[in-house]
């Protein structure tokens, strides 16, 4: 824990049953960071958020916000705000009343309330809608009201529980940027829960990947993409997902120096794969089909042992179904994992081995 740690979670546990809840979660979040809790549904990310909010009581562990132990404090005393997935706007109150609800409850003077309301309305672009009831707003506007309510009190910590999941895809994209800009501008620390890796990758300073109530990996979006710590992280992040292949598919030359092939699996990002004529690459494969997406093409492939993977090739490729090809990739683009534990296998420093038959490696721009 360093000096700039703002939120510090230690050994936090809350079990609803043997399979659900969170167990032994520890996390340190710096001041002003945008942290995304990412994971499949039921992984405990929402529970973690609710524990931080104080809406759930932990079985064990502690939560510190700004150096203050808040584990036993009620939500209102934790100086945080929250944006709910449903927005949780009060349907009988108009926009202005919804936003200043908390200020009113806390007895902030009328003039001050007015000033902060105007500020929040301006920041979220809701001017002119003060008198509308939530039922008379569009989804995006409701979302902004929820956001305005969260920032109006000026709490340094803001929790967001899948705030974009009720918006359509186009709006989601612009709101993502708005939220990020707002967070930077106000210097808020944000804990953001989502199951959408696009949101996580595009917004986060730090991604916390969760699975089965535990933290799988904590890293920057780039790190988690380039150096996934586990097979789960590798498979969850990135589209198409990274497929795990048994190491014995590769020739001995391609194996990492130490470790038996039987104990290892490996994966390659789709965009690192290039298709070559049979025999020219590292791995023989058969084309199952392809999806043309405009800027790129997903080529679905089958390798020996009925394992499948998808290559992500720029532009258009002309491969026929059933065609035999050979896959090639830069050697350092191979992600090695231990078969039993799923953990990343640390490569012993090895001599540089330029990929066969390909020019200097230029990694294509990453898409998620």
């Amino acid at each position: 824990m360093n000096a700039s740690t703002f939120l510090n979670i230690q050994g936090l546990s809350r079990r609803f049953s043997a399979r659900s809840g969170v167990g032994e979660v520890s996390l340190a979040v710096g001041r002003g960071q945008f942290v995304v809790l990412l994971g499949p549904s039921g992984c405990g990310k929402s529970t973690t958020l609710r524990l931080i909010a104080g809406l759930e009581t932990p079985d064990a562990g502690s939560i510190e916000i700004d150096g203050r132990d808040v584990t036993a404090l009620p939500p209102s005393d934790r100086s945080l705000s929250m944006v709910f997935q449903s927005y949780a706007l009060f349907p009988h109150l108009d926009v202005a009343e919804n936003i200043v609800f908390g200020l009113k409850v806390r007895g902030v003077a009328r003039a001050e309330r007015r000033r902060r309301l105007d500020e929040a309305l301006a920041v979220t672009g809701l001017e002119g809608l003060e008198d509308r009831k939530p039922a008379k707003l569009s989804g995006g506007q409701r979302q902004r009201v929820a956001l305005a309510r969260a920032i109006v009190a000026g709490h340094p910590l803001c929790l967001m529980d899948e705030p974009l999941s009720n918006l359509d895809a186009q709006l989601r994209h612009s709101v993502r940027q708005d939220i990020r800009a707002l967070q930077k501008r106000l210097g808020m620390t944000v804990i953001y829960v989502t199951h959408d890796q696009t949101e996580a990758m595009s917004m986060a300073d730090v991604v916390v990947l969760m699975r089965d109530g535990r933290i799988e990996q904590v890293a920057s979006p780039a790190d988690i993409y380039e150096r996934p710590a586990t097979t789960f992280a590798a498979g969850f992040i990135g589209s198409p997902p990274m497929a795990m292949l048994p190491a014995d598919l590769l020739g001995a030359a391609d194996l990492p120096g130490a470790g038996a092939a039987a104990d290892l699996v490996f994966g390659i990002r789709g965009e690192d794969i290039s298709l070559r004529r049979p025999g020219e690459g590292r791995l023989a494969a058969r084309v199952l089909g392809q999806e043309f997406l405009g800027a790129e093409t997903f080529v679905n492939l089958e390798v020996a042992g009925a394992a499948r993977l998808t290559a992500r090739v720029p532009g258009r490729v002309d491969t026929g179904q059933g065609e035999h090809v050979s896959l090639d990739w830069p050697r350092e683009a191979t992600h090695w994992f231990e078969r039993a534990s799923g953990r990343r296998f640390a490569l012993p420093s090895s001599p540089i081995d330029p990929p066969r038959g390909s020019p200097a490696v230029v990694r294509p721009a990453k898409g998620y």
Binding site: A53, G54, L55, P75, S76, F90, V105, R149
Partner: protein, 293 residues
């Protein structure tokens, strides 16, 4: 083309009337026709075999208003309504909030609260007759044995009111309970995070959201306070000295004890008018303040 549109429209209209007709027939036979007949009858004198009923205009109404019992009964009913309606609504709301909270044996609590509503009023009244029996019932065991609750003019109306509140509150609670369950739990959590305590949350969020239910319950409670007087037949028969007599019971007496049908009809018309007025006022005034999702 226009011809076909017209025909199509006519067909839709026909379907509309067909769907409406069962209700229309039933209402006409059992509500509208009797109402008009009552209104008609209230304008004639009581006929005998020798003297056929004669048109007397508003004489029956003038007679009613001149009768001191009329004023006594109206006063009784106003007091009865004024106490029973707010009391049963408040009690219903309290019970619903309690039965909606996370408490042990919640289902049992709900059933217990609802039991009075399931009993026929006659049965409930008999039960309370036992409670009220001087020197014998449970009230006597509480040391109030010497009070003849039903037998003295000072307490008779109150005793009857208590039975009505006890009977009605459980029924209204069910509506509140249903309404409470439609309030998303997110709202409570949002309010909690914004710093609202339980009381603030109830006052600023729950009660406004229950407003439509309150309106519905209020209309029903007001109507019931005129309509539901079965307990009088068991408990007091309106006595002593008309102290607990309510409008409907008096109407029944006029018609079937004194066989004064025209005055009973006149009284019925007056009550109908007042009830209609109350309903109109409620739906226009409170509707504006109630939030419907």
């Amino acid at each position: 083309m226009t011809h076909m549109v017209k025909q199509e429209r006519r067909r839709a209209a026909l379907y509309g009337w067909m769907l409406l007709s069962p209700a229309l027939v039933l209402f006409t036979t059992f509500v509208f026709a009797p109402t008009v007949a009552t209104l008609w009858q209230s304008l004639f004198s009581a006929g005998t075999r020798r003297r056929p009923p004669a048109f007397v205009g508003l004489d029956n109404y003038a007679d009613l208003i001149a009768d001191p019992v009329f004023w006594r009964v109206v006063g009784n009913n106003l007091l009865y309504t004024g106490i029973a309606v707010p009391a049963s609504i408040a009690l219903a709301l309290g019970m619903a909030l309690w039965a909606n909270a996370r408490i042990p044996a919640r289902a049992f609590v709900r059933v217990a609260y609802f039991t009075p509503a399931m009993l026929p009023m006659i049965a409930a009244a008999n039960l309370w007759l036992f409670f009220y029996t001087p020197g014998f019932g449970p009230l006597a065991a509480l040391g109030l044995g010497s009070v003849n609750w039903l037998g003295q003019p000072e307490t008779a109306l109150w005793a009857v009111t208590v039975v009505a509140v006890w009977k009605e509150a459980g029924f209204f609670m069910v509506f509140y309970l249903a309404a409470l369950q439609t309030i998303p739990p997110d709202l409570r959590e949002a309010a909690q995070i914004e710093g609202a305590g339980r009381w603030t949350y109830t006052r600023r969020v729950v009660l406004p959201l229950l407003m439509p239910t309150t309106l519905f319950v209020l209309v029903n409670a007001l109507i019931n306070s005129v309509r539901l007087i079965d307990q009088l037949f068991i408990l007091t028969k309106g006595g002593p000295d008309n102290a607990s007599k309510l409008i409907l019971y008096w109407m029944w007496e006029l018609a079937f004890s004194y066989f004064d049908a025209p005055r009973a009809a006149a009284m019925t018309v007056l009550v109908l008018m007042v009830l209609c007025l109350v309903a109109v006022v409620q739906f226009t005034l409170i509707d504006r303040r109630a939030h419907y999702r």
